[in-house]
Amino acid sequence: MSTSVTITDSTLRIEPRGLDRFWSLTRAMEFPLSHVRGATFDPGASREFKGLRNPGLAVPGYKWSGTFIREGERSFWNVTGHGPAVVIELADEEFARLYLTVAEPRALVDAINAVAGGV
């Protein structure tokens, strides 16, 4: 399972796939590109403390799916294992950042950074 990320002319669309939609309680999210500050290929991110789950699924060492709150910041996670994760930084959104397992992380990071308009 992973996340489908689609870039349109003006938005970034996030869709958890399969059962991840259920675990994360999220069918799809869309953000204006002007609210996207950048993306990073960050495999080490999933090893850090993620914060308090609220709501979502957390299977330590294997899966984190849903909303997590750490030091007052809300982040959305849909990460499986400690494999390749992409971190997308947002501005003026419900979530400060998104942590996602995607099929082609490096290509996605380049594509997002090419169109990211946030500061």
Partner: protein, 193 residues
């Protein structure tokens, strides 16, 4: 920022993980993302700062014009430019533009310099390439020969960094001074009017 720059210089852009940057800067991962948006954002900020520092060197009375800005690039800045050129510029328009803006004056200076010597002996003549009759010699912030194009300068730095400095020196006896790297913070010297 300096710590991040050193990390990028040591292991390159792709070779430097966010974990490495967290360790190098002492910032939390969330703070790093919050401040710079991404690893790329941090690299661009470090590159901008390095190029900005270099540009600041040419805002003084001894150093005016874009040509002088090109000369103010020290070895560390050149190394960061090399990393940017090798890893990011092929696929990142903003980085490409930043680097181009920094290197273009070098080549422009080369074209307008007509191969003049560099240093106190030919200071006013070389400075005139900047288009300002300052009457003083250019800043000697670096020891690179200004008559080199961007390609020559970067190639020479690349070879010097690879411990092949003898290949970086010009074979033609047009420049009497060698390009031995020293500290970039040498003081400026005034040419005799």
């Amino acid at each position: 920022m300096a710590a991040a720059r050193r990390a990028f210089l040591a292991t390159g852009y792709e070779g430097t993980s966010v974990d490495d940057l967290v360790t190098a800067t002492g910032l939390h991962r969330g703070s790093l993302y919050g401040a710079f948006g991404s690893k790329r954002g941090l690299f661009v900020a470090a590159l901008r700062q390095a190029l900005g520092d270099a540009t600041q060197h040419c805002t003084g009375p001894h150093c005016t014009g874009p040509a002088a800005g090109g000369r103010a690039l020290d070895d560390e800045t050149l190394d960061l430019v090399l990393v940017a050129l090798l890893e990011l510029a092929p696929r990142d328009a903003e980085v490409r533009s930043l680097v181009a803006g920094c290197l273009a004056p070098l080549t422009a200076d080369h074209e307008g310099d007509s191969g003049g010597d560099y240093g106190g002996s030919a200071g006013p003549a070389a400075n005139s390439a900047a288009g300002t009759p300052a009457g003083k010699g250019p800043a000697t912030g670096t020891d690179h020969t200004p008559s080199r194009t961007a390609a020559q300068l970067l190639g020479a730095r690349l070879l010097t960094r690879a411990h092949l400095p003898h290949l970086a020196e010009p074979t033609t006896p047009t420049t009497p001074e060698t390009t031995t790297p020293t500290t970039p913070e040498t003081t400026t010297e005034e040419a005799v009017p």
